[in-house]
Symmetry: C2
Subunit: 299 residues, 2 copies
């Protein structure tokens, strides 16, 4: 076998996902972490790779893993693609994924790089499983249950309520696509919990679902990164009914998200210029090693 050069990977953003992405890249024998990009440019404790405030200062980069908040994805992706650097993001606003793809597709083709968007577990591997289920049983219903696990969006919404010191919103699967919200609230000194609770229940983020609000002394003792999914489809294949398919996971949320993004970075550099969701490239491209070995092992 030839000696193959390692993929040069940069990580943009050093929050929860970024920290795990560093571990996942370092654990990949076919990758080299060339640096971390942070707005502040500050070197976090324990980091032994270059840290910069601009990816163009890192030298040659094959792919950048965008671990920024979802709203910043487009800007960073456009910058990378213009520099000819492939990108992977975990953009998770389902209603505008296609619009992001169209925007990044033009930039990717112009820059001669590839962009894999909405890579993670949902959107991401769950999307792939939904496609497999639909192909296997074209008529029927798919239900996706999430959790129990922390909802970032709902937690942020709860923290924004007047009188809230700290909050945790848990997504509780009640079965077949229905979810309950369990919200744990630490109030600010002097705040009236009943008022906080009423305001929260009236917030558009919480009016759609059954929501339980609990007063606690210390939210931080309740936080766990565990999450999960239980997706089921019962449907017909041809004229045959009652095919049952199920996908289940119990996972550390940021660790799994970043691991899938790292696998997609491997895939990104193998694609023709353009932007792709996880449904649109061959899944073997996510895996290290030679094609023959992978086919013999997995197929």
């Amino acid at each position: 076998m030839n000696v193959v050069e390692k993929l040069k990977i940069a990580i943009i953003g050093y929050g929860n996902i970024g920290k795990y992405a560093v571990e996942a890249v370092k654990s990949a024998a076919d990758m080299e972490l060339v640096g971390i990009v942070r707005r502040s440019g500050e070197v976090p404790a324990g980091v032994d790779v270059p840290v910069t405030d601009d990816i163009s200062k890192l030298g040659k980069v094959d792919a950048a893993i965008l671990c920024t908040p979802t709203r910043s994805v487009e800007g960073y992706a456009l910058q990378c693609l213009k520099l000819g650097i492939s990108t992977v993001d975990s953009y998770d606003i389902h209603s505008t994924i296609y619009e992001l793809q169209m925007t990044l597709d033009i930039a990717a083709k112009a820059g001669g790089a590839a962009s894999i968007i909405s890579a993670g577990w949902d959107p991401g591997t769950d999307s792939v499983v939904r496609a497999i289920m639909l192909a296997s049983a074209p008529n029927g219903l798919t239900y996706t249950d999430f959790g129990p696990g922390m909802s970032m969006g709902h937690t942020v919404a709860a923290k924004a309520i007047n009188g809230v010191q700290n909050a945790l919103s848990m997504t509780m699967p009640m079965g077949y696509g229905v979810h309950r919200r369990d919200v744990y609230i630490e109030t600010q000194p002097g705040a009236d919990f009943e008022k906080v609770k009423a305001d929260l229940l009236a917030d558009p983020y919480f009016t759609l679902d059954e929501t339980h609000v609990y007063k606690v002394d210390d939210v931080n003792t309740l936080i766990d990164r565990g999450h999960g999914v239980n997706m089921v489809r019962r449907g017909g294949a041809g004229k045959t009914q009652n095919q049952f398919l199920q996908w289940k996971m119990s996972i550390d949320n940021p660790a799994l998200t970043s691991q899938i993004m790292v696998a997609c970075a491997r895939a990104a550099v193998k694609q023709q210029p353009g932007a792709y969701t996880m449904l649109e490239f061959p899944l073997i491209d996510m895996l290290p090693g030679c094609k023959e070995d992978l086919i013999r092992k997995l197929v």
Copy 2:
């Protein structure tokens, strides 16, 4: 939207899988069943499409679904590919899948068609799930449990034992990749069941697994096409351990196999000439409808 011509599909072989493939093609709004190819050329009861002994007599065919015994796949695929007809098979001899791919890849490129091999549920969608699991948690173990369900290979082996009138070999999942064989035997008049049982237990097909042999009066009353899989992986993502992923199905075996083959026929005509396993093409290509709608719905 433009009016798109329907895909012209032929089915080769009219056994268990072939019959269900007819139903799946007829249920697909974007496909037209142009004919069935059988060695005998005989028209089976209830069939309302042309039946022939040679695919070249059917006029234009975009893709052929090979529902023949696995050993006949290569011959039929080579004939189709030479005619420029894309093929889908469910070749299931795991140890020689890569060799089949190499042979058909040359023929496909020469004929200007695509061949999707080993399409079904295992090999097939299970192979895809194994790839997703490996990408999600690179370090760890994946276990695949099959059944309970009928094993075609072991049933044929049991029927070949001297003194056996009819037989059914069931694959029983004992957990984490270990399987038991439950074999139901109808003996020929005058045959000694104890001798039959001893011969069966000494057959190389059955020596590797715990095998139970039962004497029954009528094997046919025991046969059900139901089957299933339970695949689990526990592994590490980056430095984070204890990620748990699971894929489970309870299905009508030939109906699911043929449905997945039909979805792969849709994918085959979209690929560049060559031979592909299900790991090697974008899974969105299996689905009917426009890309934008699919991405909005599934991702």
